[in-house]
């Protein structure tokens, strides 16, 4: 027993200090794909749209690009093919509150999307989260479980996983919605008392990509339930999930000071 305690003390504190302090992602981390100019060669634009495995890229209007980050699985083929237009950024604070804020158009000016409060979030500090797997491949579950581990320790911020939907403030849905999980998802949601939030964790949960064309899949969670927070990624890294939870309670991350004004 003492050996275990000694080992724990020897390891020290490994927890990230995010969001209190700046956290930067390791160099190779892909937080999201950015469009860095207004137009590209139209033929190359069409090629990019064709090689995207989830149909997240649309070429229109002679060389302009429309990118749906809710379908993007960060495979990087667009960046490899056309680095003049597509670049990978390390920003992990990518969660949004509206589906349309995940659509970016090349050349359009980027306003920071609004925070959780159109008004206020019904939740101010602590959030009890019920997770449901509706067809996850396992990677997003793996990232979500790490939130409880010492590296991120979400309990220190007031976030907890709860076992019963009756005790839950938020439902974190991960994975596409397989048809056999439609009813369990619906029943879990209906068992939650109000106020309640639905968080779609990952591209699979947001849009059903890359399996939404399958007859065994109903789509993303958005086709069944109203989603409050969209966290892109495939899978979204723990810090990206953590930012999504902060957004859910109207707390700022590290990069958007204007939100903290809105939620005062």
């Amino acid at each position: 027993m003492m050996n275990l305690v000694r080992q724990g003390i020897r390891t020290g504190v490994v927890t990230t200090r995010y969001p209190a302090e700046l956290e930067s992602a390791p160099p190779g981390y892909v937080g999201q794909i950015e469009l860095i100019r207004e137009r590209m060669d139209p033929a190359r634009a069409r090629e990019c749209a064709a090689i995207c495995p989830t149909g997240a890229i649309e070429a229109f209007e002679e060389g302009r690009i429309r990118l749906d980050r809710g379908r993007c699985i960060y495979c990087g083929l667009c960046v490899e093919h056309s680095p003049e237009m597509f670049a990978a950024s390390q920003d992990f604070e990518t969660a949004v509150t509206r589906r349309e804020d995940l659509i970016v158009i090349s050349g359009a000016s980027v306003k920071p999307p609004p925070g959780r409060s159109a008004g206020r979030s019904p939740f101010r500090r602590s959030l009890h989260i019920r997770h449901i797997d509706t067809g996850d491949d396992g990677a997003t579950i793996s990232e979500a479980k790490l939130l409880d581990s010492p590296a991120f320790d979400m309990n220190r911020i007031g976030f907890f996983f709860t076992t019963s939907p009756r005790h839950a403030d938020a439902l974190l849905v991960t994975g596409v919605v397989a048809r056999a999980m439609e009813r369990p998802l619906q029943e879990t949601y209906e068992a939650m008392p109000e106020p309640r939030l639905i968080i779609a964790g990952g591209a699979e949960a947001i849009s059903g990509a890359p399996f939404d064309a399958s007859s065994a899949v109903a789509g993303g969670a958005g086709s069944i339930l109203p989603i409050d927070i969209f966290i892109p990624g495939s899978p979204p890294a723990p810090l990206a999930l953590l930012y999504g939870l902060l957004l859910a309670v109207g707390r700022p991350g590290q990069k958007r000071p204007e939100e903290s004004e809105r939620t005062q």
Partner: protein
Amino acid sequence: MASERTTEGRIDQEARLVPGAVFVSLSAAKLAADVTNRLAGGARFVALLVDSDGQEPVLRTILARPVAPIVEAAAGDSAPPYSVLSCPLEGDPPGFPTLINVTPAAAVFEREIRDLLGQEIETPGPIVDAPGAFQFSVGPVRSGVTEAQQFLFEAVGEEMLHLAVRLYFKHRGVEKACEGRTPAAALPLVERISGRSSFAHSLAFCQAVEYATGSVVPARAQYLRSVFAELERLYNHFSDLSDLCESTSLGIMNAQWAWLKEQTLRLHTTLGVSRYLRNINQIGGVRTDLDASACKVLEAAMNTLEPQSAAGARLLERTYSHVQRLEATGALPEQTAREYGCVGPVARASGIEVDARRASPYAAYGGLNWRVAGYVGGDALARMYVRLQEIEESFSLVRQCSHWLAGNPSERSQSGVSIPETGGMGLGWAETPRGEAVHLVRLSDEGLILRAKFRTPSVINWQPFPLTIEGIMMPDFAVNKASWNLSVAGNDL
């Protein structure tokens, strides 16, 4: 016990393209007898699938040939490691010969085939109703952050009598979704068969397509593939040990292994690849490389992680409260494991030496110096020991590959040859952290996927899992389950 180390060999600088499988045609009437003979001769049942030859339905049986003894393997055994037996099915609706009497492992595949052919499936009978027993179901939405699966228990007090596992809540139709796509467009789907085995599944798939199209992979790509495959094994075993400690309420060790897992995932992004090793494999090689400075980063990371892991292993072995929960829990007898064609750490813990990296070397494994992990008894403790042994071997394998990569900078990491758009059928495999995955891919003349079969290790290992709970106490169910650590997504596809 762990096998002897092989002598260090060398892989060809341009690997010979040895076909992965021998393709045999025979009539449906002869299938059962043929499979019986092969299994009696030491072959292992891998999978059963229904396909078509363009006109008529065809039943394909995949077997792994008997594993050659070490002496033969060192002599450069180059016969294909798998056999695919194909027999046409006749009749409307097509009848097909059942293999359930030959091997119980065929059961889950036959149910799938009947489902695909639109035939009646026998639903399992009711749970045995013992006096004083109560029945209850748990799932598909379960407590904790975990996959969707349902357990139907029958128990008397704390003692479990019977378990039926209901899976397929998460069926997404992955195989069907790949049809009509080019192999490159199917790769993101293949990487999501089972999210923590993304690299191994994409590796098996790429190899299947490489065999089908006759593409040769350069040596540097093979070593890179081995590096990433072993990094995947490391973070998975750290994760499994963390889950195991969570099940025995060993909080400090749960945290320690989870921290090791997170450090490994961060190492991946420091090397310039995704945390879950996605988007690395491509047909003909890999999309990324590790230059000399990346190899230094890799070796430094191994020097940091290995002592932590070794310290964790020592602590686990000496914590009696933890070990006692695992001892004699969920024992899978060797005979049962063989009958069901079990693979992975589960099989190796039951005394079966089966490891695709040894039996049918792929990537760079043929030229590396390492041992197959093994134990006896097949209980949860044996499964823990096997994972601890494999962690040690994986550190060594990563170091050996990194050494080669740093010392051979001029080799190319992708074939550079445009992949011919040809038809053909290829079989590929890889030892995922949970066991052998086998992929069979059939391509049209334009190079589009007509049929894909992804035989994951979990679909095999789930079958005998319910047998190992009978008579154990309810609180030990979670411990046993954590020691198997099967994938539901990989089963349900």
